[in-house]
Symmetry: C2
Subunit: 189 residues, 2 copies
C-alpha cells in the first residue's frame, strides 16, 4: 500500500477523503429511556442528526491503524445527552485512543462484568480505552463535540452486546448540570 | 487496566503524564552528511536539542494503541533539516498514523527495496504510514514541528536497519527553499 494523507478540520471534524456515516434519531430509538420523547421529536422536528463518523478508508486487517473523527451534535432526548451507539471491540483484547478536538463530552466505559468509568474529553485530552472496555461517548456541552480516534485494524465492532445488555450509566442534562444515573436495564455478566 | 487520560498541549507538544525522551546532536552525529558541521556546532554552541518525544506510558503488547507527540525544533546542520533517527517497525507488517499539530515538516517514508515517498505534515493533516514503510520526520519550517502518533502495541522499533542502510533522501534547506536530494550512501536490499 502507498502512503497517503487525509485532512482533518479540527473545528468541524470533517475529514477528506473519508467515508461519512450519519446516525439519525430514528436509527437510535432504543438508546434513550424515554421512548415518548423520541417519538415526539420525530413527529415535531423530523429525523434529527445525532452524530457523524468520518472514517479514513483502510483495510480492516491486523497491523493497520484505523482512524476517524466523530462529531456528536449538541442536544438531549428526554433529558439524556446525545450519544453514540457504543460498542465493545469484537476482539475484546484491543484498545483505542481518543483525542478531543472541539466541544465537551464524556467517554463512558464499562467492563462486561459491570465496572464503569468515565473520563471527560476536551480539546487536547487523550483518553485511553484499554482492552476489554466497552465505550460510548456523549455530548455534555452546547457545541458539537468532536474527537479523533485510532484503533487496531483487526479490532472489529460488537454493537450487539451493548444492544442486548445496555450501558451501565445514563448521562442526563438538567438544571443541576450533567448527572450520571445508573441504568436499571443494564445487565452485567 | 484502568482507563486514564493524558493532556496534550497542541501548541507546545507537551504531554502529561508522559515519559519524555530528548535527542541531542551528540547522539545523532551519524544522521548528517556534513560531520565537520556537526562538530563545529558542538564546539561553538554546545549540545543542541534536536527533538523530544513525549510518550504516554503503556505496555508494548499486542492490542494496545501506543501514542506520543514528537517535537522537532527548527534548524539545520550543514544545510540538512533537523530530523528524527527514523526507524522501521520491528514487526514490519504494522502501520502508524501521524496527525500534525503545529509547525511544518515532512514525513519521509521508504521501503527496504528502495521505494521512497514523502508527505507534507501540517496542523490537521493525518499521514498514514502503511505497513513495511520505514519513516523519518524532518522540520522544514522556522517553528517547532509537532505531531501526534499512534501505532500498534507490538510494532516495536528497528533503528538498526536505518543506521546500517541509511535513508534514501536527504532534505536540505537553502536559499531555494526545501530540496530533496538522493543519499548516495543509501543501500536498498
Amino acid at each position: 500500500m502507498q502512503p497517503f494523507a487525509s485532512h482533518i478540520d479540527f473545528a468541524s471534524g470533517h475529514v477528506k477523503p473519508a467515508d461519512v456515516l450519519q446516525r439519525r434519531l430514528s436509527q437510535l430509538r432504543h438508546l434513550y429511556a424515554d421512548s415518548a420523547a423520541v417519538e415526539a421529536i420525530l413527529s415535531s422536528e423530523g429525523d434529527r442528526l445525532i452524530y457523524e463518523v468520518h472514517n479514513v478508508p483502510l483495510p480492516e486487517d491486523a497491523g493497520h491503524v484505523l482512524h476517524c473523527t466523530t462529531i456528536i451534535f449538541p442536544g438531549t432526548v428526554g433529558g439524556e445527552c446525545h450519544m453514540t451507539k457504543g460498542h465493545y471491540h469484537a476482539r475484546r483484547d484491543t484498545g483505542e485512543v481518543y483525542v478531543g478536538l472541539a466541544g465537551e463530552g464524556e467517554v463512558l466505559m464499562q467492563l462486561e462484568s459491570g465496572a464503569f468509568k468515565h473520563l471527560p474529553l476536551r480539546p487536547g485530552v487523550a483518553a485511553y480505552i484499554p482492552p476489554f472496555w466497552g465505550h460510548r461517548t456523549v455530548n455534555t456541552g452546547s457545541e458539537p463535540f468532536i474527537f479523533f480516534s485510532a484503533w487496531p485494524g483487526d479490532a472489529g465492532h460488537d454493537y450487539a452486546a451493548i444492544e442486548q445488555h445496555g450501558f451501565a450509566m445514563r448521562v442526563l442534562q438538567g438544571e443541576a448540570g450533567v448527572t450520571f444515573v445508573p441504568n436499571p436495564a443494564f445487565t452485567a455478566r
